[in-house]
Every structure is written in C-alpha cells, then in structure tokens.
C-alpha cells in the first residue's frame, strides 16, 4: 500500500460549547473513493472544513501525504493539493468561466505574487487554459460565458475544472448530485472514476446510499461528531450503514401511501406561460392523492409550480380549484384558494434565516395569528410550538433564528409555514433534497399523513426512487410540456425508472 493521501486522527472541534467533532478519524488512500456519511449534524461539514483549512481543530492530527499539517489555512490546504466542491458552487456570477477558472489558479498566493498583480492579463492563455480544463472534464462550455448563465450542473463542472487545474490530488465532493438528474449523475460518476484511475483520492459526501454503494470503495460513518466505523463497501449493507448513522433501527424504504382518493382538488387546463416556457399543460390532482411531477432539470416543473402559485401568472389556460375556475395572479391569491407551495432551495426561498422559527412559521398566515390586525404573540408561539412538536423540529426554542438550524430542520420550518395556512393543495418542490435520512423519512411520513387526511399533494422530485415510492400517479415533463402520465398502483408494475426517464429524455 502506498502512503495515505490524507489522514486525520483524533480530530476534536467545539463551537460555542457545542461539540461538533469528538476524536473523529478519517483517512484517504490514492486510487480511492471514500464516502463520508452521517446525518446532518453528525460533523461531516466540520471535518471537511478542517481538512480544507477553513477551521482549526481544537485537538487532533491532520496529515497530508505523510506530512503533518500545522498551519490550518485555506491557502495552505490548497497548496497541499486539496480541493473541495460544494453542494452550492461558489463561482463569481458576473465573471466569465475562464476568469473564474483563472482566479482559482492564480489567487491564493499560488501564482499572483511573482507574476505580479499589475501585469496585463493574458486573455488568450486564460481562455486556452480554461478550454483545456473544461475539455478534460468533458464539459462543452464556452469559457467566455458568464458564470451566472450556467446551469447548476455546468457550474459544478467548472468547479471540478478549477480543482483539476489546481492539480488537486484530494478532491472533496459535498453532495455533488443533490441537484443533478440521473444522466448528469452518470456523467459525474464517470468523471470520478477517471480521477480515481489517475491516482487521486476522492472524499464523497452524500445522503444517497444507492450512489454511495455504486461509487465508493470505502464508507466511513460519522455520528454525533464521532467516527462510528470505516468499512469496505462489500463488507457492509445499506441497512447496516443506516443503522450506524441513526444509531437505531430505521427501515431503508420509503413509506408507501395507501389512501382513498377523493374529488379533484386542483386542475389546470391548457395552461401556457410563454415567459416560463410552458405550453398547454393539463393536469389534475385529487384530494388524498400524491401526484409526482417528474422530469429533468429545466423541464419546467418549478416554472409550472410557480405559475400555478401566481408567482409568474399564466398567459392562457384555466385553473380550477374544486371544480371552480379561478384566476390566480399572486401568491396571496393562491394562498386564499388553499394552495401552498414549499419551494426548493430553502436558503434562498424557503426560510428567512434572520427570523426566529415562530415568525417563519406564521409568515404565510399572519392574518390567522393577527385576527384584529395585531400579531397575537401568544397565538404565534403556540402555532410554532404545535408544528415544532408535530414535525419534530429540533431547536432550542421557537425564538431560535432559522439560520441556526440544520438543513432538515429548516425544511421542516418551511413546511410548517405552509401547513399553518391549512392548505387543501400542497405543492412540494424537492421536499427531501439535501436533508438527512431521518428527516427525509419524517417528511415522507408527514406527506402520507397529510394525504390520508384528504390533502392533495403535488411533489416535484428529481429522485426517481422517491417519486416512484411516494406517488399515486406520476406526470412527466420535458421542455415545458407534459409528455406522459403513469399510474402507480401497487398492483401496477408499469412504472419503472426506465419508463419515467425515457419520457423525460424524449426517446420512448
């Protein structure tokens, strides 16, 4: 065996009295993909932050290729060949792809100092370099495009190019597939395999166990800041990993909804919205039903939800709530008709991180907690407490600001806000994206409960197993149109991931 690329032993870190890591250990070999798993709050991000030099550990030893790291700074970590690619790519939106790549290679003292800060930029060389790197990762992206025009998967490829360009031997990928469609995931996996074949080590963080078992060589489970164990993939089962993560028995499968279906709660007929790229959308969802909305990224699912919700009103078509035609031109009207929408990207759209949980929960139902035009703080508190209990939101109090919560708990706060409006129809956009396994199961169970009580649910999801397991019916979109509908009864075996994918991709 060659020297370890990375070895962290006994790493301990405490933030304001909260123990994030306690004597955690982790190592990485060359020619290896090593998965790091754990619930949100297990300490994965803190460990990564220490490895990348963003944090200094309180105790413990960090070695890179046998050398002990004493200087914990991002610059040092970068020069040691460590690069991290985060869930949310951190590109400069107004700079071009080439500039973004160049900045990553030139700043941080790697080049800038001796080449001079004031020298003229060699644009041709920059573009050339960017083009080469993008080619290396198999991305057909024009280096002149501004980063803001890139889709999320494209941004990720640029991030990877940056890492390759910086000659990183240790690549850390934090939830890289969270926003990718299946084909994009496959492409990423081929890339990861290629990096491994070149002798690099990849630390792979994900909540998706299927992915981990398909790509990782070894798996390390973190729980409550401690390393529970490291095993080779073939020596452990998914159930065992989940058990280790949770510290308790959990069924790996999604709960399967079995609810009687009632009248049509929401129907749209030939809905078009030119600006959002939607044309002639017709669909309906019944009370007690979970309708899955499948499709690739950019198929128009989010746009459809936003159109129905009045955020980007439709140009033509009909919307019927309980059989009655309505016109929805703003979210407040949609709320008035009993429609709720839990958006994707909870940090940007879901929660107000500065606000306490209580204000976040009551935000869409201020009228209910302010019957006489004044906010009744006691009622607001009780409302929040009720949902904190019901959704098992883990926080110190209803006054804790939403920004201090973990992803899963933030998502539950966003959900609570919409449940507080008492909706008849709830549209959920990627409800379980990027949340830990336990929160995900709780969210799924909640959806089943809500449907059981007669709520009509529309679920947008990019995760095929999730959409197949949860939905009564699945509607597949592609390029702003509905391409097919699959019924999904237990008795019916017609719904397969392949079938959904072929509709979504358009070669059935």
């Amino acid at each position: 065996m060659s020297t370890l690329l990375l070895r962290a032993t006994g790493i301990t870190k405490t933030f304001a009295g909260v123990r994030a890591l306690h004597a955690a250990s982790f190592d990485l070999e060359p020619w290896e993909v090593h998965a790091l798993v754990g619930e949100n709050g297990a300490g994965k991000s803190t460990l990564i932050r220490i490895i990348t030099g963003a944090e200094t550990p309180d105790a413990g030893l960090l070695q890179v290729e046998g050398r002990v790291v004493t200087d914990h700074r991002p610059k040092v970590s970068k020069s040691l060949g460590i690069a991290a690619i985060y869930q949310q790519p951190a590109l400069f939106p107004d700079l071009s792809v080439a500039e973004n790549i160049a900045l990553a290679l030139e700043t941080g003292g790697l080049v800038a100092r001796h080449e001079g800060t004031w020298r003229k930029v060699d644009w041709r060389a920059r573009n050339q370099r960017a083009r080469e790197l993008l080619e290396q990762v198999g991305a057909a992206i024009d280096p002149d495009r501004p980063a803001s025009s890139l889709s999320l998967p494209e941004q990720q490829l640029v991030e990877i190019s940056k890492a390759i360009g910086a000659k990183a031997r240790i690549l850390i990928m934090d939830e890289p597939t969270a926003s990718l469609t299946e084909s994009e995931v496959e492409r990423l996996f081929r890339l990861i395999a290629a990096f491994r074949a070149e002798g690099r080590g990849i630390v792979y963080i994900s909540h998706r166990l299927e992915e981990i078992f398909s790509i990782a060589d070894r798996i390390t489970v973190l729980r409550d800041g401690e390393t529970v164990g490291t095993q080779y993939k073939n020596q452990i089962t998914k159930e065992e990993v989940i058990r280790q993560m949770a510290g308790r028995e959990l069924s790996a499968a999604f709960p399967k909804p079995r609810v009687p279906v009632g009248e049509i709660a929401l129907e749209v007929r030939r809905l078009s919205n030119k600006r959002a790229g939607l044309s002639h959308i017709s669909l309906h969802v019944r009370c007690g039903e979970i309708l899955g909305l499948a499709g690739l990224l950019g198929a128009g699912r989010t746009e459809l939800a936003e159109t129905i919700f009045g955020l980007t009103p439709a140009d033509s078509g009909e919307v019927l709530v309980r059989g009655k035609p309505v016109r929805i031109a703003s979210p407040s009207q949609a709320i008035g008709y009993g429609i709720g929408y839990v958006p994707e990207d909870r940090r940007r759209h879901g929660v107000v991180i500065e606000m306490p949980i209580a204000s976040n929960v009551s935000l869409a139902s201020l009228r209910a907690v302010a019957p006489a035009g004044l906010i009744d703080r006691k009622a607001e508190r009780e409302l929040a407490l009720r949902y904190m209990g019901q959704l098992r939101i883990r926080a110190e109090s209803v006054q804790s600001s939403a920004g201090t919560l973990s992803g899963g708990n933030q998502q539950k706060v966003a959900l609570a806000r919409w449940l507080a409006t008492g909706p008849a129809v709830l549209i959920l956009n990627e409800p379980a994206q990027g949340v830990d396994v336990a929160s995900k199961q709780e969210i799924h169970k909640l959806m089943v409960d809500l449907a059981g009580r007669g709520m009509a649910i529309v679920m947008i999801s990019s995760e095929l197993p999730e959409i197949i397991a949860m939905s009564d019916r699945i509607v597949v979109m592609r390029a702003g149109r509905i391409r097919g509908e699959l019924s999904n009864h237990v008795s019916n075996q017609e719904t397969t991931p392949e079938k959904i994918l072929s509709l979504a991709l358009g070669h059935e």
Binding site: S332, R348, L363, A370
Partner: protein, 299 residues
C-alpha cells in the same frame, strides 16, 4: 465626559439637544422603515427642503394651520410615493432613483424659488401659534407618538412583520403571499410623509424658511439609522436603535462645545462613529456567512 463637564448632563441641556434633533428623529423613523426593507433614500434632504418651503408658502397664503399641515404631509407622501413606485414596480435600484430625485428636487426648488427664502411668515405659523414651551411640548409629543407608533407597529402589526420579511429575504416573503413591491412602495411613502412632518415642525421653529433647508440631512439621518444598529442590507434593526443613534450623533456637537474642543472635530468624530457602527455590523454578519457552512452541521 461626566467629569469634564458635568453641566452637559443637566436636564435643560439634554432637552436642548433633543429638541434640536426632533426633526432628524422623525425623518430617521421613516428612513428606518426604508432601510429595513433593504432600500435607501438619499433624497430626503431635498424632500425636506420642498416640504419646508411648501409649508411656508401654504402658511403665507392664509390657509388654516390644519390645512397647511395636511398639504405638507401630502406633498411629502407624494414625493416618497414617486420614489417608492420607481423602486418597487419599475425595479430601479433605490440608490439610483433617489440620487436622481435628490438632484432633481433640489434643483427644481432652486429654480422655483430663485433661491429666495420664504419670509414674512404669519405670526400664527411660528411655533404653530403657541408659546415656545408649548410648541416644544407639542413637537416632543408628536415625535414621541410617531416613535412609539413605529416601534409598536413594526413589532406587532403584520405590516411591520412584512417589512422585516421583505428586507431579510424578498423571495421567501413573496412566496409567503407578501406583496413585496407594495411593502416597499408604502415604506417610501410613509417615509416621505414623516420627512414632511419633520420639515413642518422644523420650519415652525423659525420666522423664515431657507430654500436650501435640509442640506446634508440625508447623511445625518442615514448615519443615525446605521449607528442605531439597523442592518444596511435590511431585515434587521429597531427604531429604538435609531433613537439612540440620533441622540448619540446629535450630542457630539454640543459635547464638544462644552469640552471646549473645536467644532471642526464634530464631523470627524461622527465619521468615526459611523465607521465603527458599520464595522461592527459587518463583523457579525461575516461570522454568519462563515456559520452558514456550519449550521448544517452542528445543530
């Protein structure tokens, strides 16, 4: 300070400092609303000037006092509403809109008045026809009511909650059914009316109204809001902080006089305080963005 010049802390002196700053406080209440929604209005000095001159002209025309007050408040609200509409619905950045408004309003006023001051105000206008001390009481009373109303409304009314929500995260606020554009529009309009109120009370203190009233006022007011701890990017802050900001900045000048230090230092000290306020705001918020990476992990 307390040792160097104990008389600085006498009641009479405190009252003088407070009285001189009442107009600033009232205008700063409006600015707090605007800054909380994540916007800024640098044209309020010009609005103040127009409202002051309007108050004088209305008073000279012989209108009864309530009518003068109403006219001035409406003209302030209108000026604020124009800015607000351009920011909220035309979606032009507020710094651009109000920079243009600052220059345009100021020059329009200069053109209209030809630089002449409004003089020979009717006796019934000065001190609003009251005695000096009664007028001061009324001014303080109005300021207190507006202050309490703003503090209470921001805390207890859905509209106040909407102001914070829009300033913190406009996306989320819109999805929650809050009409962010309307909130922004009304914040500017209310601020315009408050500025007009400040102008009215200020004009009544003197027997003539300069056509260049309120020059540099936007700086004092924005500084008070920022020193009072309101986040310049919106969503965080209180009017109580703004009150403290007004008092702190307003006390510097008189304090220097009492200490026998040249008044030229006033601006320098003001600047230093503002810098400190902004820096202390920037530090925790930077810590927060660092935390962003952590929060997912150490709940």
């Amino acid at each position: 300070m307390a040792f160097a010049a104990p008389s600085f802390f006498t009641l009479a002196n405190q009252r003088d400092v407070l009285m001189a700053n009442m107009p600033v406080l009232i205008a700063a209440l409006g600015m707090t609303l605007i800054v909380l929604t994540g916007q800024i209005d640098i044209s309020i000095g010009s609005q103040f000037a127009i409202c002051s001159v309007a108050a004088g002209l209305a008073a000279k025309s012989g209108l009864p006092l309530p009518a003068v007050a109403l006219a001035v408040l409406l003209s302030g609200a209108l000026l604020g509403a124009i800015n607000g509409a351009l920011v909220a619905w035309a979606r032009i950045p507020s710094i651009v809109v109000t920079l243009a408004a600052m220059v345009a309003l100021r020059d329009a006023l200069r053109w209209a008045t030809q630089g002449a001051w409004v003089q020979e105000l009717p006796r019934s206008f000065q001190w609003l026809g009251l005695t000096l001390s009664a007028f001061q009481m009324v001014t303080a009373g109005i300021a207190a009511i507006l202050f309490a109303g703003a503090a209470w409304g921001l805390r207890n009314m859905p509209a106040g909650r909407a102001v914070y929500a829009v300033g913190s995260n406009e996306n989320t606020a819109r999805l929650a059914g809050i009409d962010a554009a309307r909130v922004t529009f009304w914040a500017f309009t209310a601020a315009g009316a408050l500025t007009a109120c400040a102008a009215l009370l200020n004009s009544a203190r003197f027997n003539q109204i300069p056509s260049n009233a309120g020059l540099g006022m936007e700086l004092r007011v924005i500084a008070a809001v920022v020193v009072g701890g309101t986040a310049i990017r919106g969503g965080r802050g209180t009017v109580v902080g703004t009150l403290l900001g007004v008092i702190l900045l307003g006390a510097i000048g008189p304090a220097l006089t009492f200490l026998g230090i040249s008044a030229y230092w006033e601006k320098a000290i003001q600047g230093a305080i503002i810098l400190m306020a902004v820096a202390t705001e920037a530090w925790p918020s930077q810590a927060r963005t660092w935390e962003d990476g952590l929060v997912r992990d150490y709940n």
